[in-house]
Each structure stands twice: as structure tokens, then as C-alpha cells.
């Protein structure tokens, strides 16, 4: 009896010690995590807070984590003295066009490969898979030559066209359409629906989440694209905003508040899209990495 009680006491003392140990260890880890996150995000904070300082405060030789005089000067300056508004419009037009076209092209092609039998189907599928390996950056010279031949250098269409190659969208749609039970298809066929109605009224709406995820990630990618828009636009009025803000640098030298105000304006739309659709962005990244979520 006594032995049993002692034994019981031992266990509970051991347990409570373990719990206390865990709590301290766990708390320390949480604290480290928070500190690491703050350090990781600090460059973002530092850039944003700099844009609200007047230029003479920016270059003072000590660290000020908050502006002494809060001003929107740099934003006003960059809107008035650069073509950033024009670049913004260009970015919106090209990004939305690329998003719509990539999703449309990917959905129709993915549907055909998944649901229809036609000569060359397997060949097409293998080529889509193989194109994953090809570095699109190797094609910049020939893309430029093609665009020059059809006189699309320095045009928005010229920016859009090479960015329409997105085999991964075809792959994702094919996989999702594959997993829809044939019953749906046969029932709709009985009711006299044709292939286009099947795709746009049944298959696409059933995968609306996938479409949203792909559209969001395509939009972010198109908004952020640098190499191709940078090569194909040599005149300022046709630039996208991500390319345009690097030309501001030449004009201003080291006026960091203005430069960073341009950067904040450029990054804001994608940051907002991410914060609004966090779960969809995560899903899209899983999808494009080949992890079906």
C-alpha cells in the first residue's frame, strides 16, 4: 500500500517536472520564432517607414525606427515626376490579360487531354511534361527576334505573348479533370450537352477553387515578371511598373525615400492580393509544385 502510494507520487512529480521543462523550452522556442520573424520582416518595415520620412531625415547618421516628421512628399514626388501611373496601367492591363489567357488556354487544353480521345493526344501530353525542363530564359534572344519581326517590340502585346507559355496550368487542370467521375459526363451527355457546355458549365465550376488559385498565382507572377518585360520595352511609356521603377533610379540618384515609395507602390497590389487570399496562394503554390492540395 505504502509502496504503491510512493510510486504514484514519483510519477506525478516526474510528470510535473516534465511539464515545467516543456513549458520553458516551448516558450523559449516561441520567443525565438517571434524574434526571427521580426528580423525577417524588418527590411520590409524599414523600407516602408523610410518612405514617410523627408529625404534629409533619411540620411541622418543614426537609426530612427519612426519618422520624426511624417510626410507623403516622396509619394507625391514620384507620382508627379515619373510615369508611374502609366506603368501601373500597363501592369494592370498586361497582368490581367496574361491571367485570363493563361487560365483559358490551360483549361481548354487540359480538358481536351483529360476527357477527349484524339490523334496526337499522348504526344501533346509528353511535350507538355517535357517542357518543364526547358529554361525559358534561354529563349530570350529568339523571342526578341520573333517580336521584332512582327513589330511588337515596345508594345503591351509584345510583353504579354511569351508569358502565355504555362504548361504547369495544363498539367494541373488535366489532373483535376481526370478525377471527376465519368457519371457527371454521361448524365450531361444524355441531356444533350456538348463538349463546350460540359467544360464551362460542369468541369470548370466544379474546380472553381483551382481556377481561382491558378489565376491568383498567375497574376502575381505576371505583375512581378522582370526579365522579359525589361528586354522588350526600351521606351518608358510602354514599361510595366516592376521594370519602370528601376529607371527612376537613374533619374534621381540616391533619393532613397522616393525610390522606396515607388517600390512600395509596386509591391502593394501583390501584397494585398496575398493577404486577402492567403489560403488560395498557399494552395496554388502546392499545385504548381506538384503537390495536389
Amino acid at each position: 500500500m505504502t509502496v504503491g502510494a510512493t510510486h504514484h507520487d514519483h510519477v506525478s512529480a516526474g510528470q510535473s517536472r516534465a511539464i515545467r521543462y516543456l513549458d520553458i523550452g516551448g516558450l523559449t522556442l516561441t520567443l525565438i520564432t517571434v524574434v526571427a520573424a521580426v528580423i525577417w520582416a524588418f527590411p520590409l518595415y524599414w523600407a516602408v517607414v523610410t518612405t514617410f520620412k523627408p529625404e534629409h531625415e533619411v540620411i541622418r547618421p543614426f537609426i530612427e525606427l519612426w519618422p520624426q516628421t511624417f510626410t507623403l512628399e516622396s509619394y507625391i514626388h514620384i507620382i508627379q515626376n515619373t510615369r508611374i501611373v502609366r506603368w501601373y496601367v500597363n501592369s494592370i492591363i498586361t497582368s490581367l490579360s496574361i491571367t485570363f489567357l493563361v487560365v483559358f488556354i490551360g483549361a481548354t487544353c487540359g480538358y481536351a487531354i483529360s476527357q477527349l480521345r484524339f490523334p496526337g493526344r499522348l504526344l501533346l501530353w509528353w511535350m507538355v511534361l517535357a517542357s518543364f525542363m526547358v529554361p525559358i530564359q534561354a529563349l530570350i534572344i529568339n523571342h526578341f527576334v520573333i517580336m521584332a519581326n512582327v513589330r511588337l517590340v515596345n508594345t503591351l502585346i509584345g510583353i504579354i505573348l511569351p508569358q502565355l507559355i504555362a504548361p504547369v496550368v495544363v498539367i494541373v487542370y488535366k489532373q483535376f479533370f481526370d478525377s471527376i467521375p465519368r457519371d457527371f459526363r454521361e448524365a450531361a451527355m444524355m441531356d444533350g450537352a456538348n463538349e463546350f457546355q460540359l467544360l464551362f458549365r460542369i468541369y470548370l465550376p466544379m474546380n472553381w477553387g483551382v481556377t481561382t488559385a491558378l489565376a491568383i498565382i498567375t497574376f502575381i507572377g505576371a505583375w512581378n515578371a522582370f526579365l522579359w518585360p525589361f528586354l522588350i520595352t526600351t521606351t518608358e511609356p510602354q514599361m510595366t511598373v516592376a521594370v519602370g521603377i528601376t529607371t527612376v533610379q537613374d533619374a534621381f540618384g540616391v533619393y532613397y525615400a522616393r525610390l522606396l515609395a515607388g517600390a512600395v507602390m509596386t509591391g502593394l497590389p501583390v501584397a494585398v492580393v496575398y493577404l486577402l487570399f492567403q489560403r488560395r496562394v498557399t494552395q496554388a503554390i502546392m499545385l504548381t509544385a506538384g503537390v495536389k492540395g
Partner: protein, 292 residues
Amino acid sequence: MLKSRRSEALVALVLVAPFVIIYGWLFIYPTIQMVNLSFTNAPLIGTGEGVGFDNYERLASDRVFKTAVWNTGYFVLLTVIPGTIVALAIALMVSRLRGYLQSMILAAFFLPFILPVTVVFLIWQWMTDVNFGILQYLLEPIVGEKVAVWRRAAWFLPMAALVTVWWTNGFSILLFLAGLRNISSEIYEAAELDGAGRWRQFVSITWPLIWPVTALCLTIQLILQLRIFDQVYLFSLGGRTNQTMVLVQYIYEQAFVHNRGGFGATVAVALFLIVVIVSVLQYQALRARGER
């Protein structure tokens, strides 16, 4: 029956047409043209004469090309493995948290990933500015002086790698988090009952079970970083680019700056082959692992 099959093929043709046209015109055709161009001395725009394998012979003895290959490999080494380790560490830390705290912490680590490269460039140019950059407060006590990190060859690629890891790590973090979520908590509970501590649990449970995700991250990062251009180009603006040259940048310089389309295409073919060979090797390695 025959008629319905023919109409099915016709519908399919209409549906795949947009993709096939774009793909043929802007993917297959330029790939073939790239190879053709590499056998000529053409400028960027305009025609040149066939020169056989001259460009390839020149490439083999080209010093800057060797530097570019070396730098690209060095950059891959600096980003892929350290980046993956950091991503795993962050994912482990974030996966312990719950609720709002987790979303906020994850957003802090992930947000850089969705920003355009030019924004990342401007932020870090400001962070590292030789006169006013906040990072100089950290570097000065260690190095003994302010460091123009983008003007010193020894600093350039490691710093570019640091910025790249900061920028792109969100991607790997998400993959790791999904992988960690798939490990059943029962395994950890059982291990805890057996008295296994945190480190023991990581070594015996987490690491072996997360290895497939680790392999995926390494694969994706490797292929991605071989194509490095944007950051390296932007940070090298106004400096001596020959020392910090990477492969895609060399294609750009030869074709678009020096107007040597033919030779630029030769560099592009080299990049193309390197990426395809690495991809195939990696695919084989992963498949061998899967079949074992």
C-alpha cells in the same frame, strides 16, 4: 460511331488549338531557331553567315563564359542547400504555433516571396547602402569598415545569395509546413511516452518522414537557381560585371549589349543543355530512390 469519334477529335482540335499555336510559335520554334542561330555570326536583329562550329570553339576557350558557369554553380551552392535548411528550421518553428499567431508569423516569413524582384532589389540596396545603409551598423564593427558589398567581388555572390534566400524562401517553407502537417501526431505522442526529447523526435521521426519534401525543395530550387539573372543583374548595375557574371546574364550581355545574336544563342544552347542534363539526372535519382 465513327462519326462521333471524328467529331470528338474535331472538338479536341478546337480546344487544344490556342495552346498548340502559342506553344508551337513561342516555344518549339524559338528553341529550334536558337540552335540554328548558334551556328551563325548574326547580330541580334538581322541575318548572318553560317560559321559552323566557330561559336562553340570560341565558347570553349571563353574566359568570361567559364566565370559565368563557375559563378552560377557557386550561386546554386550558396542558395539551394542553406536555403532549404533555413526553410525547414522556419517551418518547424512555425508549425508549433497555432491560430492567429501562426498566420501572422507565417505571413512575416512569406511576404517577401510575393514581391517583384525590383522591389526586393530596392529594399536591399537601401539596407546595404555604403553610406546610409542600416546593415553597415552590423558590418562596420565586424569588418572594421563600411563595405560596398555590391562592388567587391568576394562579397557579391554571397550577399546576392542571402537576399535570394530571404526573398524566395517562403516557397520552401510552405512545402515543408504541408509536409509536417501530414506527419500524424500520434507518432509524436508515442515517442513522448517513451521519453524521447525534442531533438530525438526530430532525428528519428521528423527528419526521415520529411525527407521526400526536402528532396522536392532541393530539386525545385536547383532548377530555379540555375536560371538566376534578375537579382545578379540589378545589383551589378554600374559595376564590373565580368567578375560576377552568371549564365543568363551572359546571354543577355552578348546578344542585347554587344549585339552578338549568334554567340549569345550559343551561350543559350549551353544553358539549355546544362538545365536539361541536370533535370534528367535529378529525375533519374528521384526515381531510383522511389523504386528502392
